[in-house]
């Protein structure tokens, strides 16, 4: 398989909160249409890494290129870049005062400047893709957690991002609702979306990921295809983490 173009290139990334160094030199490349899974113990820095990738956190050092543009360059228009970097949060973060459709179309209208009708058409198409076309006039509080998270995915997808970042997208869902969210993510993958997923859904990682990255204490300990990471992890720390998980 020929190497496809790099969508996300992280080099030498460092981030500290006060005296606590959370990211200690991260290098990570994600290529077009790749699904990269980031796993690791809590506090290993995986969420912080993801949040640096659209500058919700400001890194202290290093470089992050998205689609060839350096995010950390002060001259970069971060708002324009964020339209191309979709983000899905653990707690959904839908806007509770807006309908589902308005949640999806807000950025289309205000950030991309699309007209009401065009935004509506794009928004409804995005909602159809997450199987929620019939909920466009509902309010978030009327939906289940799984439905809310799918709306959040539609909100990010509607902007046609180059890459989507998922920060523990199923961690606050009841077990029976996880499946519907994973199904949507699987479809996105089949449609060729480039994705970085921080999650503990190991089975999904095994089935769907192209590459699994194991992080511990602010560093990438090892990475590789899921078969190798889950089947024959090289590092002691990876082995003990996965053993804890299996137990």
């Amino acid at each position: 398989m020929p190497e496809s173009v790099a969508i996300l290139e992280v080099t030498g990334l460092r981030k500290s909160f006060g005296t606590l160094e959370v990211l200690r030199g991260i290098d990570l490349t994600v290529r077009a249409q790749e699904l990269v899974f980031v796993i690791g113990p809590s506090g290993s820095g995986k969420s912080t890494l993801l949040r640096c990738c659209n500058r919700l956190e400001e890194p202290n050092e290093g470089s992050i290129r998205v689609d060839g543009v350096e995010l950390l360059d002060p001259k970069t228009d971060i708002n324009a870049m964020r339209q191309r970097i979709g983000m899905v949060f653990q707690s959904f973060n839908l806007y509770p005062h807006m309908t589902v459709l308005a949640n999806v179309t807000l950025a289309l209208r205000k950030a991309l400047g699309k007209g009401r009708e065009e935004a509506r058409a794009i928004g409804e198409a995005a909602l159809a893709r997450v199987d929620l076309a019939d909920k466009s006039s509902a309010y978030p509080a009327q939906l289940s957690g799984g439905q809310q998270q799918r709306v959040a995915i539609a909100r990010a997808m509607a902007l046609e991002p180059k890459i989507m970042l998922f920060d523990e997208p199923t961690s606050s869902l009841d077990p029976e609702l996880v499946g519907s969210v994973l199904a949507v993510m699987r479809e996105l993958r089949q449609d060729g979306m480039t994705m970085v997923v921080v999650s503990h859904e190991m089975r999904f990682a095994r089935d769907a990921a192209d590459r699994v990255v194991f992080m511990d204490a602010g560093q990438i300990v090892e990475q590789g295809p899921p078969d190798r990471i889950f089947g024959a992890p090289q590092h002691a720390r990876t082995q003990s983490f996965l053993a804890d998980f299996a137990a």
Binding site: R82, N93, A111, Y139, R155
Partner: protein, 227 residues
């Protein structure tokens, strides 16, 4: 005369009512005018200050907090007297109406700013992050995502505070604004009868009870289901 007759003569004297009711009604109009002007400018200024404060520019916020604390600490009457009787000696002469409007607007703005600000702070960080992650600017996030939620939450405390401050229009009586209390007091001293004061009280009730009821309605109207 039995005691009932004495009471009615002192507080509900028919002749006095007939003579001074028009003055009281005129006073109601003035009170409503001042109150509406105060509510409009006070709340708008309060919201503007809270929005500016959310940009967290340190020197600006120090000034806002200073303004808010001073105006919340001072009794409005003190400010009214200082401005009405003090400013003319430096050559600035404002009408009683203008002074009353200005002072009460600033006081309401100070309280409203605090209420809006705590509303803004109560919105979870995830709302900011979700909006910013879709490429919305800080200002777009503030106006479309944060403020609509914050303002809804502030309706009950803001209504209470607004009622409390607009009732202070009665302080206009001290600087000759012909609002309800001024009219009632004048009528009382001309007639030597307390009936106009009771009429004045009734006028306040007629004006403010609907506002209290409206506030309660807004409270339920602006409550929406939360996850």
């Amino acid at each position: 005369m039995d005691s009932t007759t004495v009471f009615l003569d002192a507080f509900l004297n028919r002749a006095v009512i007939d003579k001074y009711l028009p003055d009281i009604l005129w006073g109601m109009i003035i009170t409503v005018e001042v109150a509406l002007a105060v509510v409009a400018t006070g709340i708008a200024l309060g919201l503007l200050l809270a929005a500016v404060r959310s940009f967290r520019v340190r020197p600006v916020n120090v000034l806002i907090v200073l303004f808010v604390d001073v105006l919340r600490a001072l009794p409005p009457l003190v400010l009214i007297l200082i401005i009405y009787f003090g400013l003319p000696s430096v050559g600035i002469r404002l009408s009683g109406f203008a002074v009353l409007w200005l002072v009460l607007s600033l006081v309401l703005a100070a309280f409203a700013e605090e209420i809006f600000w705590s509303g803004i702070l109560s919105i979870r960080k995830g709302q900011w992050e979700a909006a910013r992650s879709t490429g919305l600017t800080f200002l777009q996030t503030l106006t479309h995502v944060i403020l609509p939620q914050a303002v809804r939450m502030t309706v009950p405390p803001l209504t209470n505070r607004t009622i409390a401050i607009t009732k202070n229009t009665a302080l206009g009586a001290v600087i000759g604004v012909p609002e309800i209390l001024m009219q009632a007091q004048t009528a009382q001293s001309f007639s030597g009868n307390a009936t106009p004061l009771l009429l004045g009280a009734l006028a306040y009730i007629v004006l403010f009870v609907p506002v209290v009821v409206l506030g309660r309605w807004l409270e339920t109207r602006f409550a929406w289901g939360r996850a």
